[in-house]
């Protein structure tokens, strides 16, 4: 328990009044000094009776760096009190405002959370500064309410050339097993030209492709990754971009990272992102993967099949050594927002 600045002011006035009364006569100083002491003592009494309230925290959904979410804290107490609420937020998350002055127990308290860094973050405990009704005395209370929040790695849109490269990786795996014709379907971007069913295409005036049974029991593309000290974020971003790129083309992936492995097919994007959010540095766990990502300080090299390139080239910020279909590589700036990607 300690005095606030206001409380110190009141104490100062009381002491000054007392001294002036002692030195130069009491006048009406008793009517100043005594209420000041009463206010301070009453403040201390009020705070002594304050119990830490039960706190429940509503956290926003996990998300990507740069996104924001609203955290809401609800307090349950029989005896609401004035105070300052400050949630303890780890590095990698930014709050606005950092502390809220409110009546604890009268209503929920919300603050904006800005996701900064990839990782699994723990919110809490909640730090409360209880104050008396006049704001003269305050006391710290800590409520151990913890919640987790995952910030995914950033995901970049791969350049079309890179997408093709990944597709071809899958095609190689798939072509060998195109045993049984399954059905015809509309052309989708990335379908190999040789699968086009020209007859039907002529008939429907639209590109139609043949689909084979093997397509459905997908053959996963394996992605293995490793990172040097301080490069885990770069690795996670590269792996996430590649894996989500593959998944967006309907290609299942198996991800091997220093913190474990995970297989995911279409719809499993969230699991991949969560897995990558938690990964740290370490060596590449699987040597024979289809795609290998090695991140070191400054550069991230990506091997797709036999082609070795950098992640920068994959996203199009550096020219990619593919066949070059003439399309301008899309920069990261106009990439679709990661949120839309997850929602899709």
């Amino acid at each position: 328990m300690r005095l606030t600045r206001r409380g110190k002011g009141v104490l100062g006035v009381a002491l000054l009044g007392f001294l002036m009364a002692a030195m130069f006569g009491s006048r009406a100083l008793n009517a100043v000094v005594l209420p000041a002491f009463v206010a301070l003592v009453a403040g201390a009494v009020q705070l002594r009776n304050v119990d830490a309230p039960a706190v429940t925290r509503e956290t926003p959904a996990d998300g990507f760096p740069g996104e924001t979410g609203t955290v809401t804290l609800r307090f349950e107490t029989d005896d609401p009190f004035a105070g300052v609420v400050a949630d303890s937020v780890p590095e990698g998350l930014d709050t606005d405002p950092a502390a809220v002055e409110t009546t604890v127990g009268a209503g929920p308290v919300s603050y904006e959370l800005r996701y900064e860094d990839r990782g699994e973050h723990v919110l809490g405990p909640v730090y409360l500064t209880a104050r008396d009704v006049l704001g003269l005395v305050e006391r710290d209370l800590t409520v151990a309410a913890r919640s987790r929040l995952v910030v995914y790695p950033s995901v970049a849109d791969l350049a079309p050339a890179a997408m093709n490269e990944l597709q071809s990786l899958y095609d190689t795996a798939r072509t060998d097993e195109r045993d049984e014709f399954d059905r015809l379907r509309g052309y989708e971007r990335g379908d190999p030209l040789r699968d086009v069913h020209w007859k039907s295409t002529a008939k429907y005036d639209d590109l139609v492709v043949k689909e084979f049974a093997a397509d459905t029991q997908a053959q996963a593309v394996t992605v293995a990754a490793g990172a040097a000290v301080g490069a885990a974020d770069a690795m996670a971003e590269a792996v996430a971009s590649v894996a989500l790129g593959l998944l967006s083309m309907g290609i299942p992936v198996e991800v091997y990272t220093p913190n474990g492995e995970l297989s995911a097919s279409v719809g499993g994007e969230r699991a991949v992102l969560e897995h990558l959010a938690r990964t740290g540095r370490g060596g590449v766990p699987a040597e024979t993967a289809d795609v290998e990502v090695v991140a070191s300080t400054g550069t991230t090299t990506v091997r797709i099949g036999d082609v070795e390139t950098t992640f920068g080239a994959l996203v199009g910020s550096v020219p990619f050594g593919g066949d070059g279909d003439g399309e301008t590589p899309r920069g990261r700036d106009d990439a679709r927002s990661p949120a839309e990607e997850v929602a899709a």
Binding site: A21, M23, S26, R27, L29, N30, A39, P80, T103, L134
Partner: protein
Amino acid sequence: VSTEPRSGTAAAAALVDRVGFRGGALAGVLGLTFAYTSVLYHVTDVVGGAELEVLVVLGSLALATGVARTVGERTALLVAAAIAAAGTVVYFVSIPSSQLALLTIGRLVSDVLALATGLSVLRLTAADVWALAFTPGPVFLSWYLAVRGRYVSAVVVGGGALGVLVVTGDAGTVPTLVGVVGAVAAVGFGQLERDGGTTAQVDSLAVVVAAMLVLTASVSVVPGGAAQPLLPDRGAKTVEASLVNAEDRIEVLGSIRLSPAVRFTVESNEGSYWQTAAYDRYTSEGWVRTGGTDPYRGELDDPPGADRALDYRVTAETPLDALPAAWRPVSLSGDVAATAEVTQQGGVRPGRTIEEGESFAVESRLPQYTTEQLRRAGTDYPGPINETYTQLPASISERVRERSAQVAGNDTSPYEKAVAIESHLESRKEYSLTVERPDGEIADSFLFEMDAGYCTYYATTMVVMLRSQGVPARFVVGYTAGQQVAEDEYVVRGLDSHAWVQVYFPEVGWVDFDPTPGGPRESVERTRLAEARQNNRTGVDTGGSAAGALQPSPDPADRATAVIGNESQSTPVRRGAILTENPRAFEEAFRNPNVSRNATVEATATDSGGGFSMPELPDRETLGFGLVVFVGLAAGARRTGLTRRAAETVWLRYQGARRDPETDVERAFSRLERLLAKRHRPRRTGETPRQYVDALRTRRIDDRVVTVAQTYERARYAGEVTREEADEAVQLVDDLVWERTPLVRRFRD
């Protein structure tokens, strides 16, 4: 879906709360503003300019309200500073040029220091201008901040203004408390408004305020007695003397007692009233001497008219903080002359404590006049005299003015008015030392509500009446001649201290009048002296005074012999008293409480003889005080859950008015349920009444419970229950409840 409208209602309630909180905070700031402006209003009421003061306050509030939303805080601060600066300039311009010439930086600093240590604002020569100049700055700034929702800053500004008036001693306990409560409300409600507080917190706030009031009214934690302003040290003085200066202000008190101790002896051929101070400014509650003092530099002015010399030597028998001298003292000799000071009223003060046994010689010039001369003196008063000595608070009641006019007569000279008023008071009022101090203005109370009083009341009332008729007059304190113990020696005791009136006559100067009747006083004082002698008190007698010596001591008529022209029978000064009473007010006022305890202690002991005493609060204040305390208690009861428990107790024990049988049974059963919940366990959700009672049966509950439960079931689900059955159920529940009530159950058996 069901929570939607409820949360809407809650939001509306929260909004209502916030509006209420803002109202409370604004009212608090207004209360604080009212507290210090009422003190300033009192100053202007006494000195003049009360209407203007009200206008200034209202104008500042209006200006602040108008600009609060449009003008930024920096600009507002500049405006307030400009207002304060303009006020300071106006104040210095209004100071009389004679005083302005004396003004130095050092003197200014020491004056500010004196104000800060208890020098009343009323003692300033231009107190009215000071008050008017001081008002607008804080009023504007604090209200501006309050309207903008910055209540704490508003309280700091307003509290600072109130603080200034508290340290000058002008704000009494009541206005100070009002201001403090206002400040607390502003800060508390302001915080609740900002944080969205709850009713429970309002209760806490009310309890805190009530505790402040009750404690302040019953306990004093600060040390120190009367205000002891640090007056500028103009000349070599002891610290002790510079601290004691209470004689600049006199409060009229209630009951007082006489001190028989000998104060000083005078070797003089002639007895006289030994004046110690004259007061010019009337505050409704007492008297204030305005203006500073100048060092004594030899020979002072003679009275304007004819005079004759009186030389005498005063020897202090106890330490003295005053220079008793016959009006008008013109020269001093002895050690004390080096430190003596001359007041603006022409009196002399020692500037230090005169030690026991120390003596000094004084030469006075007694004004010489005849009645005829006074009658013809006319009203051609010097400007400053007319201005200073006809001052009256603007709030002097109309009936005082009417009565004064009626007593004084219309076409009469000032002298005739003075004589008429003097004899009116002497004949109409009884003399008594045991009076209750009136609440309001002294003269009005003494004239219309009191039957008796002592010299302070007589003299105060006479001055007020004269001034209301345009006659310059002033209130004078000192000692009467005392007991004459030898041809040329007078013994003056504490009980000789007295208050009387001086009236100014052009070409003559100040002439003494004494409206206090002599006869009754004499007996009171003789009794007191005899009593003291019987009790063998020391310090009562000196030299030959115990023997009774020469009697009577200087007769009132003695003074008449001084009058030129043998019209002794019509001398303006009538003094019936040989011994006069000793109002503690001024007896103490010019005595250093640290040096001479005997008189003070005695008087205090007598006053507080009743034991525990609450500081007196006038009726209106008592009412407000009681209201706040009551609200505080109620809030405290609610805060601690006392009211809820009380309501529950009543709810459980009384069935209330009978309605239809079904309702009665339902009510009876819910009472029973509450009782069972307290004794055993509450009914769980989903548990039917029957299951509940069955479950409790294992705990050997009363059969009556089962009966009531069955009745309830029939009433609730079958809807068939007769009046008799309902009454029986109610009766059973009543029995069950009261049987479990401690104490009461004994009476029910």
